[in-house]
Symmetry: C2
Subunit: 206 residues, 2 copies
């Protein structure tokens, strides 16, 4: 597929079929992840690629608890009152579906970043989220759906214990992969003129 056709139609696909995805596709997706940059090219990333059904089931249970925590935060308590046919309502319904069906995705990728014991900061993310974005774009290029979720952090200790992830390694995201039940397409976004400034904050870019 042409690059811009991929990148401008990679929306979060939270409804996935349980069918396995081809091993060759999974390898190509992971290979593309590794082509992303990381700070000083240190590549402190690791990816736990989970296909085992019982491990996925346990992650699904942990994730459902995380969803419960998220819904108790003030922001999401508010969002959950949005009309079901509003953009926020639809997004929430789709995210809720994921919270109930995460384990059914044939592959779950837990993306990690080593911090050498230092407390992670915003810019720690510069060494792992570009790789995750590459992973999701590669999936989309192959017709495989994905989304990124970080709410596993509510039960981070449980997830790390389950997967044997060392203490000095941070879990940055969980990415389910699978054939999409929904359709790819341009995601709903604020217009460029609202979020880009020219030369200085507040000045028009356009």
């Amino acid at each position: 597929m042409e690059f811009f056709d991929v990148a401008t139609t990679q929306r979060s696909i939270r409804r996935l079929k349980p069918d396995p995805i081809p091993e060759t596709a999974l390898r190509q997706i992971m290979d593309t992840a590794l082509c992303a940059p990381s700070g000083g090219n240190r590549q402190g990333w690791s990816f736990v690629v989970i296909r085992d059904a019982s491990t996925r089931a346990r992650i699904g249970e942990i994730y459902r608890e995380c969803w419960g925590e998220l819904m108790r935060t003030p922001y999401y308590a508010g969002v959950s009152e949005a009309p079901s046919d509003s953009r926020e309502g639809k997004m929430l319904a789709s995210a809720r579906h994921l919270s109930e069906h995460l384990a059914e995705a044939p592959v779950l990728v837990v993306a990690c970043i080593a911090t050498d014991g230092a407390k992670p900061t915003l810019t720690t993310g510069a060494s792992i989220y570009p790789a995750i974005q590459n992973l999701m774009l590669a999936a989309r290029a192959l017709g495989i759906g994905s989304c990124i979720t970080t709410i596993h952090r509510y039960r981070d200790g449980q997830l790390k214990a389950l997967l044997g992830i060392p203490p000095e390694v941070e879990t940055a995201a969980v990415v389910p992969l699978g054939s999409p039940l929904g359709k790819f397409g341009r995601p709903p976004r604020r217009p460029l003129g609202e979020v880009a400034f020219g030369d200085r904050w507040g000045q028009g870019f356009e």
Copy 2:
């Protein structure tokens, strides 16, 4: 360009020509950035796109000071003793070039993320670095070089004051854009077998 040809040859281009890049290309690059996901689709991102030469010059001065700070950290003090023809030595020479010539890039993008006053964490990055990766991939698809740098954070207050960025907004990265002096190509990376695990940390993926 075909998606995988773009994503597997997007290496950090730190040597850039001063020639302007086409406005249509810049708009397409920014538009692609916005197609990336963000937590809860909140799109708390902002991008200050700097073409003004005097603003770029001032950012270049600030950035040079940041480079000095970086070189005083234990890790980079060690890297700076690597042989100049080693992989680390070459990377450092290229990064040093950028530190001396950042202002010559025709466009600097300062990517920001709103945190609503909360302290940013690792996962704050999940709402801005995917967009930055999209931006750099789109640039590569159009033959425009870029790289991501976060060391501006050593002088974050100065950068924010210069650009008028509000206190509750975090600067996540500076991305120079310009025609590449070097060549695109597959970046040097650790093999997949070293960084991907199957089902559980430490188990082979392959």
